[in-house]
Symmetry: C2
Subunit: 391 residues, 2 copies
């Protein structure tokens, strides 16, 4: 039958090709050989006891990376967006109020997700690069009485690391849970889930953790668990229902883990290895290392006459640096030149920051001064070659 | 701060350990070195042009494997359940009727997913091992007037391969779309999406395709596209919204692919390799090879005095064989013995077939007579060692 089939498959008889790239954008970042090797190991079954052991290790590794003792800690079988939807779907019931801080793309996404599942969505808004004071947040909480407040710690589209101190306490004063996105910041900028009273925290595997994309650590506080396990309606997604996921991860205290879905075994192997590397290095060392390399990069960029998009040093994300697009240049041309001649990926803006910034990410394995110097040299070359005439 | 942290991470300082296992259950199956190597390659960005080239190859490979010329063909960033939710979320609007054939676990899951998103769910029911006649299906379609009918082609919980001929035509007569699950059957049992008038077909990466779990091919007919792209409400999931996914996969005819989520780059490398292996072998060869090995296994099982759960040979799934649990044995003890002494995974039933069957899967790379002989020898040994006294 297939021989008479209409479907040509000649392209599949060529070998797989993928060029080497320096992934110095906002992620995914290069995966070190040790993590690639872990992800390339022969797999075992998703329900084997040894797999549960590896998942237990991942849980401990996330607890360390998040600085939390939350029992309800696990990794999603999907990217950061899966964790984002999981948080909203499980915590919020249709008709409930949600407050979303939008100062870049991630707040936009959470607002869209919450709207689709039937929440009443209220927003706090700043243009990219802006941030919210605790007074502004408190005022909005008092007004809208949301059950959930979303804040991006690492707003990678603008290069901003948002202050989190005190926000959890304000949320709890208004009986609201605090949901924080640390996809771009985890391991690069200080964040202490328990000390900072964050109720739900998630990240991605492919940023400072340097694993391939496809898994996403997430953790829920006791307070968050109380809300999500005492809801009246079932979450709209069976796949993301924490009742089932908590059992799959051995977090619900039941003696038996039941089949829910088939987790990404290779992805979990890689994630475990990436969390092990962070544990070996130590969180504080990782934070200070990212800051040191970022400061070296920032100085180099200023020496090239470029303007950093985030003026206040303390608000700059150490993992993803944003540069105001220099006058007299086409940003797409700069990026294409650097990719073609230096095999380096930088990126433009994302969502509301498109056309405003260039972005350089040096995360985890990629985060060192040699790479920063290579990035600066490539940019210097591009600035020489790509200047537009004034005409 | 971390040095004062409450979180022990000593477990993360041990190396990752995973034993070798013969994965002769219903999946995941063993991943051959060639696919492991593809998945272990250095990654590139999820939005690089070469990545789009690889995704284009994957699309062609799925079109071949499904025998479809559907433009709307892609791989989900998730396991088979992600494809299942994607199909239901995009095709059905709240309040619409859905008809689900339940003769094992997969129909149960689809019914649950459809109920959660607000569909009116009607079911056709058989106990595990049962199947539906086209007359029964037509009667139910006429009665319930659903917009979508679900049928599992490979019902891996019972070991049944369901006849599909004619079902698409009946569905279309009643203005209903046909959704088919081929997670356990693709590449092992004949299925021709276009010829059989299937509107939505999905599978998983980790069965006969032998890639690690975490990606799921799916395809939509023109008819299905017409329904899902002319709906009044947005699908409840942003992550699974086919408007965005079709753009990400270059299927919507727009010149630019926009960032939606970060796809599992390593998983796509591995999936491309697995589809290439199937294309090299040829679908018809793959089908006949699975049948030949399955018949060898079935004869061997009967020679051991065991009873196959599916009596009619033509209804037996060639990829997953179900055996009635032999009298005088504890099925959990048999499985544990075989795992301990032979490093082989077989499994028990799943969902409604728990306690009714043992399951042996020989899929793709694992599908050969040497493995079948090894499985039979292990089972023979276990039958000798694990007999219960009659007391």
């Amino acid at each position: 039958m297939c021989s008479r089939g209409q479907i040509p498959v000649s392209c599949m008889l060529r070998p797989l090709e993928a060029p080497f790239r320096y992934l110095f954008g906002p992620g995914p970042s290069n995966v070190p050989p040790r993590i690639l090797a872990a992800g390339g190991r022969p797999i075992i079954g998703h329900m084997h006891s040894e797999m549960f052991g590896i998942m237990n290790d991942i849980k401990k590794g996330i607890q360390y990376a998040f600085q939390t003792s939350n029992n309800m800690t696990l990794a999603m079988s999907g990217s950061g967006h899966t964790a984002m939807e999981c948080a909203v779907f499980n915590i919020v019931e249709p008709g409930e109020s949600v407050l979303v801080a939008i100062n870049g793309i991630w707040g936009e996404r959470v607002a869209e997700i919450a709207e689709r599942m039937g929440a009443k969505v209220h927003t706090l808004f700043k243009t990219p690069g802006g941030h919210f004071t605790n007074a502004e947040i408190e005022q909005a909480l008092a007004k809208h009485k949301p059950v959930l407040f979303f804040l991006a710690h690492g707003e990678s589209s603008s290069g901003l690391v948002h202050p989190v101190d005190g926000v959890g306490d304000i949320c709890h004063k208004y009986n609201c849970l605090l949901l924080v996105d640390s996809v771009a910041s985890l391991g690069a900028a200080p964040l202490l889930m328990d000390q900072q009273n964050i109720d739900i925290l998630y990240t991605g595997s492919q940023k400072a953790l340097n694993a391939p994309p496809g898994t996403a650590p997430i953790s829920f506080s006791e307070r968050a668990c109380h809300k999500m396990f005492n809801r009246k309606t079932k979450p709209v997604s069976y796949l993301l229902d924490m009742t089932h996921l908590s059992n799959y991860w051995g977090n619900d205290g039941k003696p038996e883990r039941k089949y829910h879905h088939t987790g990404p075994v290779s992805g979990f192997f890689a994630l475990r290895e990436s969390l092990a590397i962070l544990a070996e290095m130590g969180l504080e060392n990782s934070w200070s290392h990212h800051t040191e390399v970022a400061e070296y990069l920032w100085k180099g960029l200023e020496d090239l006459g470029l303007k950093l998009f985030i003026k206040d040093k303390d608000l700059r994300l150490p993992s993803v640096t944003t540069i105001a697009i220099p006058e007299g240049y086409d940003w797409k041309e700069l990026l294409a030149y650097i990719m073609k001649h230096h095999q380096i990926e930088f990126t433009g803006g994302l969502g509301p920051s498109v056309g405003m910034v260039l972005r350089i990410g040096l995360m985890g394995y990629n985060c060192n001064k040699a790479n920063a110097a290579m990035a600066l040299a490539a940019l210097e070359d591009a600035l020489k070659q790509c200047r537009k005439s004034k005409a």
